[in-house]
């Protein structure tokens, strides 16, 4: 398949990735991302039927440790970095309720 990325595609992807783009940015990114995808066309031409995908170079699997309690970060240390915390929890703006 040949890459033909539209302005609408980019707007949709930006929304999925929680990024807001200006009109100018939409134009710019549509052009730039299309170029990168066109470069990927050389891969699209290959017949790779039956080739297994590799997600990881050496494929270590089922790496587990003994189920023992070890020292870990304190709640206070972790929450100290949070933009907002309350009663030992991360605090965020309203999640449910009226639509914004």
């Amino acid at each position: 398949m040949s890459a033909s990325l539209t302005r609408e595609d980019v707007a949709k992807v930006a929304a999925l990735a929680r990024l807001r783009l200006s009109d100018e940015e939409l134009d710019l990114y549509t052009e730039q991302l299309s170029k990168v995808l066109q470069h990927a066309d050389d891969m699209q031409q290959l017949d790779l039927t039956g080739v297994a995908p590799t997600a990881h170079p050496f494929g270590l699997i089922n790496v587990v440790r003994e189920d023992v309690v070890r020292p870990s970060l304190s709640q206070a240390d972790v929450l100290a970095a949070a933009p907002d915390a309350e009663d030992g929890r991360f605090a965020v703006p309203r999640i449910v309720g009226e639509a914004p």
Partner: protein, 472 residues
């Protein structure tokens, strides 16, 4: 500049680690304003580490293989209580609650971490021009880039600020700046250096590795930081490398693949350096085998889908909730969006969107799925090559250091810088860039030695042969 080996020997013999640190800080003070290498210098932590080394030596203990050696850290490695930004506004001011494993291992070996170096935001770039805190300048020619993404760590060593530094290499981010700054840079075998505390970009490709002026110094540093870490589930169950013992073993009897695709398209000065390196290895007793590995040319395409796909997932964590920047808004989704829009720079946004697209319904098989299959083919192609030869020789980068702004308009032009380095990240294997002569404008040229996983002892010995031929 004094080597790390020499400093450690002296300090273990009673010379002051604090004085070594002061020498390093003096160079940083003198040159950092011009070069923008360090984003943060941790004087307090560095003095504490140096004083601890001096106390250990005074108490008659061996203070370690890197006793009193100042080391610079790329600012994507977590340092407890010390700002760690990834050169991004989204992490500005953040102080991690823990150390990366490599930082703890440095301290245990007596090293003195002096501060955090500039990078392309989240390690995405090849020139350090994508940093939210301004570009780093190449110490050899401040009108040119130092390379990237570990440009700050490369420049720290090239400018004589620290004898050693650590970078991370996802598609060439150690080897390319090492080549452009005229120093040694190593991308170790995937899984041989812990990624615990390395802020993730593309987890199946990222690997921490050393920068140094000499091959021997790079070997000491890699010995210190390598070895299994239970805190990283992708860490190989292998001990630390032993490299120094075989450093002078040469290349006699080795078979070296001279790979067409790892030089093709380079500038003439780079081609000449690779040809000369081949001659040196041959004279030292290696057998040269000219070869072609056509699969390597697909690396760039596969990488620029796989790395952004992993990045789009890894960078979803920057949502304004647990750490870093938050831009307030009336509801959570708007807060997430406002935070990410304000916090990420253009290249990071580009890659997040590319990765999100490659992973989205309807395109997954065509892009990400196809790239993973190409990755399988690349690994098979390398394996076939390594069945015939011990290691491969090629260029590190297609050209010497370029001037600022020459590749920022067109992302593809910038991405092409990594065409020779990317295949090794996809295969998970090892590679070293060694400075080998000069090219255009008297700037350094790097040649690259590539080998199978865990072939570091062979690669370091070969790198040492090239270094000796250069009179070092």
């Amino acid at each position: 500049m004094t080597t790390a080996r020499e400093i450690a020997r002296r300090v273990n013999d009673g010379a002051s680690a604090v004085e070594e640190l002061e020498r390093s800080l003096a160079v940083i003070t003198e040159r950092n304003a011009e070069l923008n290498v360090f984003l943060h210098v941790d004087e307090e932590g560095a003095y504490a580490a140096a004083e601890a080394v001096d106390r250990a030596v005074a108490a008659g203990q061996n203070a370690g293989a890197l006793a009193g050696v100042p080391v610079a850290l790329k600012d994507n490695m977590c340092t407890r209580g010390v700002p760690t930004t990834c050169s991004s506004k989204i992490l500005e001011g953040w102080r991690p609650p823990y150390n990366a494993t490599v930082v703890d291992r440095l301290l245990a070996a007596g090293a003195v971490p002096v501060g955090k170096t500039n990078l392309d935001e989240f390690a995405m770039g090849s020139s350090t021009e994508n940093s939210a805190f301004g570009p780093t300048r190449n110490p050899l020619d401040p009108a040119r880039v130092p390379g990237g993404s570990s440009g700050g760590s490369a420049a720290a060593v090239a400018a004589g600020m620290t004898p050693l530094s650590l970078g991370s290499d996802t598609g060439g981010s150690i080897r390319q700046p090492a080549a452009l700054c005229g120093i040694v840079g190593v991308k170790p075998t995937y899984g041989s250096v812990s990624r615990y505390g390395l802020i993730a970009f593309a987890s199946s490709l990222d690997q921490i590795g050393p920068f140094a002026v000499t091959v021997e110094d790079a070997a000491v540093l890699l010995e210190v930081i390598s070895g299994h870490d239970p805190l990283d589930s992708t860490s190989l169950p292998e001990p630390a490398f032993s490299l120094l013992s075989s450093l002078e073993s040469g290349v006699a009897g080795k078979r070296v693949g001279l790979v067409r695709e790892l030089v093709a398209g380079s500038d003439e000065d780079v081609e000449r350096a690779v040809a000369r390196a081949a001659d040196v290895l041959k004279e030292a007793g290696a057998t040269l085998v000219e070869m072609s590995i056509p699969e390597l040319t697909l690396g760039l395409s596969a990488y620029y889908l796989i790395a952004p796909a992993e990045a789009s997932s890894n960078l979803a964590r920057y949502d304004g909730v647990r750490y870093g920047l938050r831009i307030d808004a009336d509801d959570v989704a708007s807060m997430n969006e406002a935070t990410r829009t304000a916090g990420f720079g253009p290249e990071v946004k580009r890659r997040i969107m590319l990765g999100t697209y490659a992973l989205s319904a309807g395109y997954f098989d065509a892009y990400y799925g196809q790239a993973l299959k190409v990755r399988t083919q690349m690994i098979a192609a390398f394996s076939r090559a390594y069945a015939d030869v011990d290691f491969l020789l090629g260029a590190t980068t297609p050209s010497v250091a370029f001037e600022f702004g020459t590749k920022t308009k067109d992302p593809m032009a910038m991405y092409l810088n990594d065409v020779f380095t990317i295949p090794t990240n996809l295969s998970g294997d090892a590679a070293i860039s060694v400075p080998f002569g000069t090219g255009e404008a008297n700037l350094p040229v790097g040649v690259q030695l590539l080998g199978p996983g865990r072939s570091e002892p062979t690669l370091f010995a070969a790198a040492r042969v090239l270094e000796k031929a250069e009179g070092r």
